[in-house]
Symmetry: C2
Subunit: 247 residues, 2 copies
DNA sequence: CGTAGGTTTGACCGCCTTCAAACTTGGTGG
DNA sequence: CCACCAAGTTTGAAGGCGGTCAAACCTACG
């Protein structure tokens, strides 16, 4: 595993508080690997062999049933995924595949479980991460059940804008087809919803979206801190506020 | 707090593994309370004051946004709820209200957090519980995105049957109106879907449902261990199998 | 260039919601 | 004990949101 990757791992919330010996022993067992685009890393139903940490690139979490398939989420670096399956030593509920070329650090799940048992600070961090993930899916369920597709799209665009420090112009991080699936609609319907928004609050050019009337977009989305994912490392927030509010 | 409640708390996965001193100190700070039906225990957006443990009765978890409202889940005794908000010391994402008269043990959230930090076994149990909750919402999201309303209803009925040891006859634990909301549809639509199922695999009399053609129902629901909630304390499973499989 | 894959557009259909009214159920008081 | 009322459920009719299918268009890449 590349030595330059270790510090960025160490900075992750999950690994930040653990003791150095535990961290080093875990890293000794871990290895880093690079994967081509569109490669299936994990198939739902398999058992958790490794905790994955995405260092570079992006990974899509999918779920399938009965011939249908949907995007459950997209992982951006640097962050871990499928921690819950590791902790419970249970089969994955989702599949994971790379979108672009990705480098991933893989830590054997069994060793993670040992470390959790021996290092209380690590366990606390894992607990916090799981609580956050839990709340993320509560939010997603609320989003799906309470908003219609136009509202979900509007909320997503506002979220992306907020993510970039309330930027006017955003660029979609994934293909529209995948975004549509993530938002629980068809590509056709996403296209049409986008057209509705273009009528009075955006301009769209391929993957580039410019917000022309934020108040109108906000009126449609009605963003709500209890439903919309808080921004992880919001540049603006980090500089303008003393304390990062919990979410 | 009633002394007869303590043992049933102690048997909970969350409290089972913790040290007796920690457990006793938590219990000293906790108090039990009885609530009338339809009382709002928790309002979404408030901060977590207490970890709640439902001892008797039932509690509905709801989420609201912009004048709309939906049922996110129903808690049955004996189990805890809103652990994630306690752990993160963050606002509740859901509201909670009693359905029937309920008795609930309330443990101050601050003391829970102290106990988590001082008792690694408790932290491990909390982690496990959170991982399970996380996976529960992943399942729910899959259910909402991959199945249509008829399939969700069929799967729900099969789930209830499985819950009672694959019983032929089940009785709905909540009003149909609430079930409809939980399943992401209107009461009218639930009624119609029920009628469709009555045509070839069930008989329905009020809250009583009898499965007349299980294979047909199964064909509609296509139950999947990666999507459908595993049964908690399945009587049949506990007696017929050596080891309970993880989920 | 040419091709494959993604996106958009149009037409159509169906699932599901909405609205309204009838019906059933459970609880209460005469 | 029965009448009555409120609340839940069912049924019907109508409409809209979103899905499906098909074709045209665009874009990236070999």
């Amino acid at each position: 595993m590349n030595a330059s990757e270790k510090p960025s791992l160490r900075r992750l919330p999950l690994f930040r508080e653990m003791t150095t010996p535990t961290f080093d022993s875990l890293m000794k067992l871990a290895y880093s690997q690079s994967f081509p685009p569109r490669l299936e890393l994990i198939r739902q139903g398999e058992y958790a062999d490794f905790l994955h940490v995405l260092i570079k690139g992006s990974v899509e979490l999918r779920a399938a049933w009965n011939g249908r398939s949907t995007v459950m989420g997209v992982v951006q670096p640097v962050s871990t995924f499928i921690l819950a399956a590791c902790v419970r030593n249970a089969p994955y509920l989702m599949s994971a595949r790379t979108l672009e070329r990705a480098t991933i650090v893989m830590v054997p799940a069994a060793d993670v479980r040992v470390a959790l048992r021996s290092d209380p600070d690590f366990a606390m961090a894992a607990m916090d991460e799981l609580a956050q993930g839990y709340r993320g899916f509560v939010r997603q369920t609320k989003n799906m059940k309470l908003r219609n597709s136009l509202e979900r799209l509007a909320a997503y665009i506002l979220y992306r804008s907020r993510h970039d420090g309330d930027a006017e112009r955003i660029v979609l991080p994934v293909e529209k087809r995948h975004l549509a699936s993530y938002l629980g609609m068809t590509p056709e319907n996403l296209s049409r919803s986008m057209k509705v928004l273009q009528a009075d609050c955006l301009t769209v050019e391929g993957m580039d979206i410019t917000i022309t009337d934020r108040s109108r977009l906000t009126a449609i989305a009605s963003p709500d801190p209890l439903m919309d994912e808080p921004v992880a490392g919001a540049v603006k927030a980090a500089f303008s506020r003393q304390a990062e509010s919990k979410n």
